[in-house]
């Protein structure tokens, strides 16, 4: 299967074969991280712009390292220190950046659809690095790569995604990707944090942590996105933690001994994950971060390396 898309916007758009191609490409690129000289010339002369309107540590750094290891020139733009603060609109800023002929623009924005808006307006490749509560495809891809490396396959696996599903682009992208690859997904959280349409995406729903984690291969814990919560969706952090926090005790009682614990970060220790679980033997949280670089290298390479793909 070849890669023909100009942009990577959502997991929903992708076919299973495209997801597997992205994961395979990333898997083959992982070896670069172990080299003494972590640089290959594949994207020499290509320019990647990170256009971040929301704070980010992992994703922005990861795209930056990925671009640099592939020899692309990487420019970081963050809205707080730019002409955005002088009143320039999102599309105007993006068009100005596009006028400098980048090959790939990686965009994160608090509004759903921001990446797609740019993809329609700009001639260069756009990567969605998170648009509001909509999608975050590279996170889902790195989660999938981590799962395959640890479990060996996708088909038939059962994943529980636990916590603030309503505000989570990670959950949405993962549900789309996992369903396409023949995995079962159960989402779990307090009813106020489960969006009403989630069954339509093919996910099962559970309202008790103990039930949700019982018979799954992977538990993906999510952070409470308090910055996106406008009304009182949970009574208190303490109560949330008591019912929905994953502790060693709960794991030992209810989960399988070979379960993987994942978290897209940043972790709020003591809220959704106890420190013993976050740092424990089941946890692959830092593996996810390492694989994030490989996934972003794969995405940049496939977008910039597609036939006739010189950004024009």
């Amino acid at each position: 299967m070849g890669w023909t898309r100009k942009d990577l916007l959502t997991m929903r758009d992708l076919e299973a074969g495209e997801i597997v191609l992205l994961v395979d490409t990333a898997a083959s690129l992982q070896e670069i991280a172990g080299r003494e000289i972590k640089k290959v010339p594949a994207l020499r002369g290509k320019t990647v712009v990170n256009l971040f309107y929301e704070s980010s540590t992992r994703t922005r750094t990861s795209f930056e390292i990925a671009g640099k290891w592939l020899s692309a020139d990487v420019i970081n733009f963050s809205a707080s220190v730019s002409s955005t603060s002088k009143g320039e609109s999102f599309v105007d800023t993006a068009k100005n950046i596009a006028a400098m002929s980048p090959d790939v623009v990686v965009v994160r924005h608090s509004s759903a659809g921001a990446a797609e808006l740019l993809a329609r307006q700009l001639p260069c490749s756009i990567v969605n690095a998170g648009d509001g509560a909509h999608e975050h495809p590279t996170q889902a891809l790195l989660d999938l790569l981590t799962i395959r490396e640890k479990k060996g396959h996708f088909e038939g696996l059962h994943v529980a995604i636990v916590g603030d599903i309503a505000h989570s682009r990670v959950a949405r992208s993962n549900i789309h990707g996992m369903r396409k690859l023949g995995m079962t997904v159960t989402v779990a959280g307090p009813p106020t944090l489960i969006p009403p349409f989630v069954q339509e995406l093919g996910a099962k729903v559970s309202y008790r942590l103990e039930d949700a984690i019982g018979d799954v291969d992977v538990i993906m814990m999510l952070r409470l996105q308090q910055e996106r919560m406008t009304e009182g969706l949970i009574p208190s952090l303490r109560e949330y933690s008591r019912f929905w926090g994953l502790t060693l005790d709960r794991l030992a009682k209810h989960a399988r001994p070979d379960v993987l614990i994942m978290h897209p970060g940043p972790v709020n220790r003591g809220v959704e994950l106890s420190p013993e679980v976050a740092d424990g033997p089941y946890s692959v949280i830092l593996d996810q971060v390492s694989r994030g670089v490989a996934v972003r290298m794969g995405v940049l390479l496939l977008l910039a390396g597609r036939k006739g793909g010189d950004g024009a």
């Binding site: 299967m1 070849g2 890669w3 023909t4 191609l21 395979d24 490409t25 898997a27 083959s28 690129l29 070896e31 080299r35 003494e36 000289i37 640089k39 290959v40 010339p41 594949a42 994207l43 592939l70 794969g298 390479l301 496939l302 910039a304 390396g305 597609r306 036939k307 006739g308 793909g309 010189d310």
Partner: protein, 187 residues
Amino acid sequence: MGSPAPRHREKAQVLDEIALDRALTRIAHEILERNGGAKDLAFVGLRTRGVSLAHRLSEKIAQIDGTTLPVGALDITLYRDDLGMRGTPVIRGTDIPFSIKAKTVILVDDVLFTGRTIRAALDAIIDLGRPTAIQLACLIDRGHRELPIRPDYIGKNLPTSRRESVAVRLREHDGEDRVVIEEPEEA
């Protein structure tokens, strides 16, 4: 590397199973002769068929000399000079589980053609460390070089026209050991 042309039909057989094996045996002897034994040698095969050939050469040297030389696999996709001209880049991964520092690396490929693949492979190897020397072994040298690159060990010199292609078929991938010249179906 054979270029991804449309459909090809077989024009002539160049090597059969026995001739292919003999060529590899001779190359193994030449490698030992030229380097005064097997000390500090290592094989790096180019994906995909160069890797199989490298393993076979390593086995031959083990039979002759009793030394088991390490074999690595090199994928040069990230070093190509034509990214974006050939469609989706397929990365099959580099796997060289030993240090190439202070080693004489024998680079192994199936068909030597323009030399561009080897140019990329030299860059890729040097990025992994500083070998003492790099030598090049190719099963078929079909000419038409576009770069100043010359093999050290050749299985067979095979003058070809540019419109033909050379297919190296190996047991490990194709179920048979054979080298054939192919030409475009529609002529």
